[in-house]
């Protein structure tokens, strides 16, 4: 009778040890800074996305472990909210409003133009990795639409021509000069 071979199943107590350092640090710091908050998961996810630009799915086990939640719970939350992204975005995310007030002043044709100009559909990232296009349902700029937002900068009364100018200015590296927001004070 030959002995049955014993198979050891490695039980990993702490997940996330094999994460890229930047991701692991982002998660741990976000958790440590917000752990004491009531209902801390959303603030933690925001902190991670603010830092990495997205929430890599491979970080979910570590987030869950740190908060004593199941991975399913964290996955459920990340996927429920449109703002949290599970794919890395382009250098800039363009949030284009497609709600009614903007529709009333030409948002539908602006949307078609933007998709054509960037060569992508909503949620897509341009081939050069520069832009990600996202729909947004109201930026609260409803009397001065169509509106879009790039990096917390809001732009009103957008037209296809102004959209092209914006992209051209960005390509020329002049976005900071064209920036129009006091929000720029935010670090």
């Amino acid at each position: 009778m030959s002995e049955r071979k014993r198979v050891t199943i490695p039980i990993r107590v702490e997940p996330g040890t094999d994460l890229p350092a930047a991701e692991r640090t982002a998660v741990l710091e976000a958790v440590n800074q917000n752990r004491a908050l009531e209902g801390s998961l959303l603030p933690i996810l925001h902190a991670i996305q603010d830092r990495l630009g997205w929430i890599p799915p491979r970080t979910l086990p570590l987030i869950a472990y740190e908060l004593n939640l199941t991975r399913a719970e964290v996955h459920g939350v990340v996927t429920f909210y449109h703002y949290f992204r599970q794919h890395p975005p382009g250098k800039q995310v363009i949030y284009l409003c497609r709600a009614e007030a903007c529709q009333a002043v030409g948002a539908v044709s602006l949307e078609a133009h933007a998709k054509r100009a960037l060569g992508i559909d909503f949620h897509g990232t341009s081939g050069d990795g520069r832009y990600t296009l996202e729909p947004v349902y109201c930026l609260g700029n409803c009397a001065s639409g169509p509106s879009l937002m790039i990096d917390r900068e809001l732009y009103g009364r957008m037209t296809p021509e102004r959209f092209d100018d914006l992209i051209a200015a960005d390509a020329a590296g002049a976005t900071s000069a064209a920036a129009t927001s006091a929000g720029a004070t935010r670090a």
Partner: protein, 519 residues
């Protein structure tokens, strides 16, 4: 000489170039060696005039707008620092008819004060309401709010005082105040304007609510699409803490009120109060069954007041001037004033705060000046994406919760989106269903599945595929959604769909449909 110039730091003004104007102004003043103090304010909400700057003269604040950076040198040439003549001179700002003919009870400080300057806030009547409230019994505060007739400004119009009384009477060692600042309805921006232009007013209202119901902890749940409001609120909350208006011992009264700002993450449904509470607790924003009411079992199972930004912001003036003062405005059961938002295709879009009773027609034409495109108004949608589309025949309806409900619509949060005669109402109806499908939390079937089926049925209807049958099917589906959905998202999506179908049936009969009907 030294002059003070006010320029908004508010999002719409920024979206139209206010930051470049401020920068050009500072540079030009430095070049001319003029002593100019630039104060960044909220916006008055006269958006067709933004970026609008104001100059303090001995008589009044004189407005100029819309100003672009290129106009700045000319303004200096014209002597604008002393109210000089210029083609952009709008005269004393308070005399602009759009603003003069308003009743700004809640939004009176917007565009006037530096939003994060506490002294400025107090100099304009700020914290007088809280001072009065601190000298009152909690039950007396609740009674004042009840007597004022204030109803929830988020859209549901539930009497605020009754909600507060329920929380006041509810047993519980821990209670919460939650501000719903998830202003997701298209065509609305009054919450944002208030938070960016007068954040202490919201903080004061929430603190009073805390005193009234015995809650020591509060949250503002703000949508992440509002980064400018986030900055202003963050600054204001920190300032209020530093000055002792928030914290363990509010103004030395021995009563605590802690306030935190929390950011949403792009889910429209989180504007529904139970879904918002789920989100605050760190979960998916799926709605809860009611009962239990949040007033009894709300955040973390504790009695919770959930009110909209404008509801809370209306409380300080009620405590300052008395319930009767507020109640004297309005009509019927709608008391006080409503900050109405003119949006979409409108010539003079912006914020119009009027006592209830003003008609839609006055708002659209006297204030709004018709469409921005110059074409006739064909339809308006009042109350956000779940509000009915109304034709011209309904424009004499007064702004009043009951009058709107009686006309088959809803006033909601007071946003009015205007469309000209190029609008395709079948496309709007389809969008309403599509939006519901995108934003449904998925908990109940009529909303989750019905919305997707709704898009398909409208597509077939417009394509002319057995139109009579599709119409019956669409109406039946809407009936199921209206009566079978758990919350207002699925329950009210039929409003825009059916109103479009009822008032604009011709848009659902494309050439293809007409052809099919002939066969």
């Amino acid at each position: 000489m030294s002059a003070t110039v006010y320029i908004p730091r508010e999002a719409t003004a920024l979206s139209l170039g206010a930051q470049s104007v401020a920068r050009a102004l500072a540079e030009e003043a430095a070049r001319r060696q003029d002593a100019v103090q630039i104060v960044r304010t909220g916006s008055r909400g006269l958006f067709w005039l933004e970026p609008m700057l104001e100059v303090a003269t001995s008589a009044a604040r004189v407005a100029y707008g819309p100003v672009q950076a290129a106009d700045v040198a000319g303004l200096f040439e014209a002597g604008f620092l002393t109210g000089g003549k210029h083609r952009l001179n709008l005269g004393p700002v308070e005399s602009i008819p759009y603003l003069k003919n308003q009743e700004r009870l809640t939004c009176g400080r917007l565009g006037v004060i530096d939003p994060v300057n506490l002294d400025d806030y107090r100099a304009h009547g700020g914290y007088a309401g809280l001072t009065n409230a601190l000298a009152m019994e909690p039950a007396a505060i609740v009674k004042a709010v009840t007597d004022s007739g204030l109803r929830g400004r988020g859209g549901a119009a539930f009497p605020t005082g009754i909600k507060w009384k329920t929380v006041h009477d509810a047993p519980g060692a821990k209670k919460y105040i939650v501000c719903n600042a998830d202003e997701g309805d298209s065509g609305t921006f009054s919450d944002r304007l208030l938070m960016e232009g007068d954040p202490f007013c919201l903080i004061e209202g929430m603190t009073i609510a805390g005193l009234a119901v015995g809650a020591t902890s509060g949250y503002v749940y703000l949508r992440c699409e509002y980064p400018h409001a986030q900055d202003t609120m963050t600054q204001a909350i920190a300032t209020a803490y530093a000055a002792g208006y928030l914290g363990a011992d509010v103004l030395g009264s021995g009563r605590a009120f802690e306030l935190q700002l929390r950011m949403g993450a792009g889910a429209y449904i989180c504007g529904e109060e139970t879904s918002l509470l789920e989100s605050l607790e760190g979960r998916r924003g799926q709605i809860r069954f009611k009962p239990p009411l949040p007033a009894l079992k709300g955040l973390f199972g504790c009695p919770t007041v959930v009110n909209n930004v404008i509801s809370f912001a209306s409380v300080p003036i009620i405590l300052e001037r008395g319930a009767q003062f507020y109640k004297d405005y309005g009509m019927g059961r709608s008391r006080g004033s409503l900050p109405i938002q003119l949006a979409g295709n409108i010539a003079r879009g912006g914020l119009v705060e009027r006592a209830f009773g003003v008609t839609l027609r006055e708002l659209l034409y006297d204030y709004g000046g018709g469409t921005r495109s110059g074409r006739p108004i064909r339809a308006v949608q009042v109350g956000g994406p779940l509000g009915a589309y109304w034709p011209e025949s309904k424009f004499d309806t007064p702004v009043d919760y009951e009058a709107f409900a009686g006309g088959g619509g809803m006033l909601g949060h007071g946003g009015i989106v205007v469309f000209d005669d190029t609008v395709d109402m079948a496309a709007q109806a389809r969008y309403a269903m599509e939006f519901c499908a995108i934003e449904s939390c998925g908990k109940c079937t009529p909303c989750r599945i019905g919305s997707t089926r709704g898009v398909e049925v409208i597509d077939r209807l417009v394509a002319g595929d057995r139109t009579a049958m599709q119409q019956t099917l669409l109406r039946d589906l809407c009936d199921t959604m209206l009566n079978g959905s758990l919350c207002a998202l699925g329950g009210l999506t039929p409003y825009p769909v059916l109103s479009a179908l009822d008032y604009f049936p011709e848009d659902f009969s494309t050439p293809a449909a007409l052809q099919a009907a002939k066969r």
